[in-house]
């Protein structure tokens, strides 16, 4: 029973962190109409930033969080317009070209990181590493609790931003119908750049936490891209509210399979669920997909 509770709690905590970057992923799809293969790349880059800040500058891993947001937010802000231009270009098949572009970007990031940093796995030490928190019969690592708190703050902030501000309204309007939003005076191009920057920044921050909880190496990016896809399929592409639910489910599924079956089967279980959902309810379990 304790193990069950422990597993459930661990899964929910990790699911929270996954939710932060999958919400951004869904927003990007809604606004840019592009699924971003590079999502795993941003997670890993955030992790490496944290690793180098702790290893070279001897700083605590948590200091990397704001730096990751600013650095990769800025990079994302610069990449956003390129993606927008390709997606809306006058070539014959812009949707395909945009998809190929993010795929190429992901391959470039993965290959570049493997070339520069090799296949080694690194860990990111923080002030909370090794500490744990006892909640009744179960104990959870402190770093996971901190990550979950961070996730709640980021996800809550995002939802407030989307549903309580004028700019959030503009983003939602663009996701719903681009042409009508443009007619209402939304500058879609600039909005796309902002959304992609925001998303890349948040994803890199989540990457710092993932590196602190687990570890980081260039090949692990595939795993996070898969996570984002899983959540997107379960929630329905573009559904932001569904992403939160689906991410928590993903965390729990992963934790249970890892604990009770074996961690080498966790990816296989995720794929199996993904296909089942695609077969049974292709627009997401909540049927909210675009």
């Amino acid at each position: 029973m304790d193990l069950l509770l422990q597993t459930l709690l661990n899964g929910l905590l990790i699911g929270g962190v996954i939710a932060t970057f999958t919400i951004g992923f869904q927003l990007t799809f809604g606004v840019l109409h592009v699924i971003d293969f590079a999502v795993g790349g941003w997670v890993v880059l955030g992790g490496y930033l944290a690793y180098y800040m702790t290893a070279l500058l001897k700083l605590d891993g948590f200091f990397a969080i704001p730096v990751a947001f600013l650095l990769f937010g800025a990079i994302g802000y610069l990449i956003g317009p390129i993606l927008y231009n390709v997606r809306n270009s006058r070539t014959a098949r812009p949707e395909l070209m945009a998809l190929a572009l993010t795929f190429g970007l992901f391959t470039l990031l993965r290959g570049g990181m493997l070339t520069v940093w090799g296949f080694n796995t690194h860990t990111v030490p923080t002030a909370l590493s090794g500490e744990s928190l006892a909640v009744g019969p179960v104990t959870v690592p402190m770093i996971r609790v901190a990550a979950a708190v961070f996730a709640i703050v980021i996800a809550g902030g995002l939802f407030l931003f989307l549903y309580r501000t004028r700019y959030g309204l503009a983003i939602r309007a663009t996701a719903e119908n681009r042409q009508n939003a443009a007619l209402m005076g939304v500058n879609i191009r600039r909005l796309s750049a902002n959304v992609y920057g925001l998303y890349a920044g948040i994803t890199a921050m989540a990457g710092v936490l993932m590196a602190a909880i687990f570890s980081v190496n260039p090949e692990i990016g595939l795993r996070y891209t898969l996570f984002a896809f899983f959540v997107a399929v379960l929630a329905g592409l573009g559904s932001v509210g569904g992403a939160l639910v689906a991410a928590l489910m993903l965390g729990v599924i992963e934790a249970f399979v890892s604990t009770y079956v074996g961690s080498s089967y966790s990816l296989l279980a995720i794929f199996a669920t993904l296909f089942l959902v695609l077969l049974v309810s292709p627009r997401g379990i909540l049927r909210r997909g675009l």
């Binding site: 014959a92 970007l105 899983f230 592409l237 695609l278």
Partner: protein
């Protein structure tokens, strides 16, 4: 009819060159030629769906690997089938898998299909890694058959056949017109009475099966396969680059892109060995082609630049406003 003559002359020249190559070059270069033909064929197979039907498949390596593993398992110890008997089995396995993945996802937007195929390839890699009968991470050995000319001619046959199938089916038949029509404007194609879901599924299965045949030959040729070498994402990456480089949806482009990129990759390999840097080059190539050469090498030689908006688009746009929100 003029274009038919040009095609025929090119075909004759290519076949003559292919037939003479084994007496002109040594075994080392014959091996490279075999590899180049395989990649040209794989690029053509990817182009069937990606170029002609407009659906991007990021998991083509899954079908390549299914063909390879089926051959390896059937030629392996308990069963010991002859090589050519394993190919139909590989085709059947691949076709079933393609239908299972394609039937639900091809009805949706391209993005779902891209995700599903990518995830399928990664899932198969994981599956082959953890299962015992696939040999796990260690992979499988096949009975060695060291006859370079046999593999060269088998690979040439498969590649020429793939090219001819593309020529006949996608460039010179009603089926090809249906596929192109649904790519250019799906609602309009449906309104004309085309069963678009069926046509897409047929194209997908054909494309998958073609890749499986090359996988089967590849497995017998290299005599050793493991999950990374036949299911790995790098295989799909390479196909995507070859097609984009050569020209998406053109007949000759993918073949040119496939042969060109493979030879370049061998030259890099000879100079620097097996390097992760090649993955970065592939990624950079995709990005650069998308940004600066969206019609590929074939686009450079086209008599007129590809039109931004198709005729069907214009007609449908006039009738019912724009279709899908993306096209401004």
């Amino acid at each position: 009819m003029k274009s038919h003559w040009a095609d025929l002359i090119i075909l004759v020249v290519v076949v003559v060159v292919l037939a003479l190559l084994p007496v002109l070059v040594n075994n080392y270069w014959l091996r490279i030629a075999t590899g180049a033909l395989m990649w040209a064929g794989l690029a053509c197979s990817w182009n069937m769906l990606g170029g002609y039907a407009g659906y991007i498949n990021f998991g083509q390596s899954a079908f390549f690997g299914l063909g390879a593993y089926t051959t390896a398992l059937l030629m392996g110890d308990p069963i010991n089938l002859p090589f050519f008997a394993t190919i139909p089995a590989g085709i059947a396995v691949t076709a079933i898998c393609a239908i299972i993945i394609g039937a639900p996802t091809l009805r949706l937007r391209g993005a779902y299909f891209a995700i599903a195929t990518w995830a399928f390839a990664e899932a198969l890699t994981q599956f082959a890694n953890v299962m015992d009968f696939t040999g796990g991470i260690g992979g499988l050995n096949l009975p060695p058959f060291l006859n370079e000319r046999f593999f060269y001619f088998t690979m040439s046959g498969a590649a020429v056949l793939t090219y001819l199938v593309t020529w006949a089916l996608f460039e010179h038949s009603r089926f090809g017109l249906k596929v192109k029509a649904l790519r250019d404007h799906e609602p309009a194609a449906e309104a004309m009475g085309i069963n678009t879901s069926l046509v897409k599924l047929q194209t997908f299965v054909l494309s998958a099966v073609t890749a499986a045949v090359f996988g089967a030959i590849f497995a017998y040729w290299v005599t050793f396969i493991n999950p990374k070498s036949v299911f790995g994402g790098d295989i799909t990456d390479q196909m995507v680059v070859m097609v984009l480089l050569g020209g998406l949806g053109s007949l000759r482009g993918p073949a040119i892109g496939g042969i060109g990129l493979f030879v370049v990759s061998r030259l890099i390999w000879m100079r620097w060995g097996d390097t992760a840097f090649y993955i970065a080059i592939l990624g950079a190539a995709i990005v650069l082609v998308v940004l600066f050469l969206p019609n590929g090498i074939a686009g450079l030689f086209a008599r007129r630049p590809a039109k931004s908006v198709t005729v069907l688009d214009k007609a449908a746009g006039k009738l019912a406003g724009t279709g899908e929100g993306g096209r401004n």
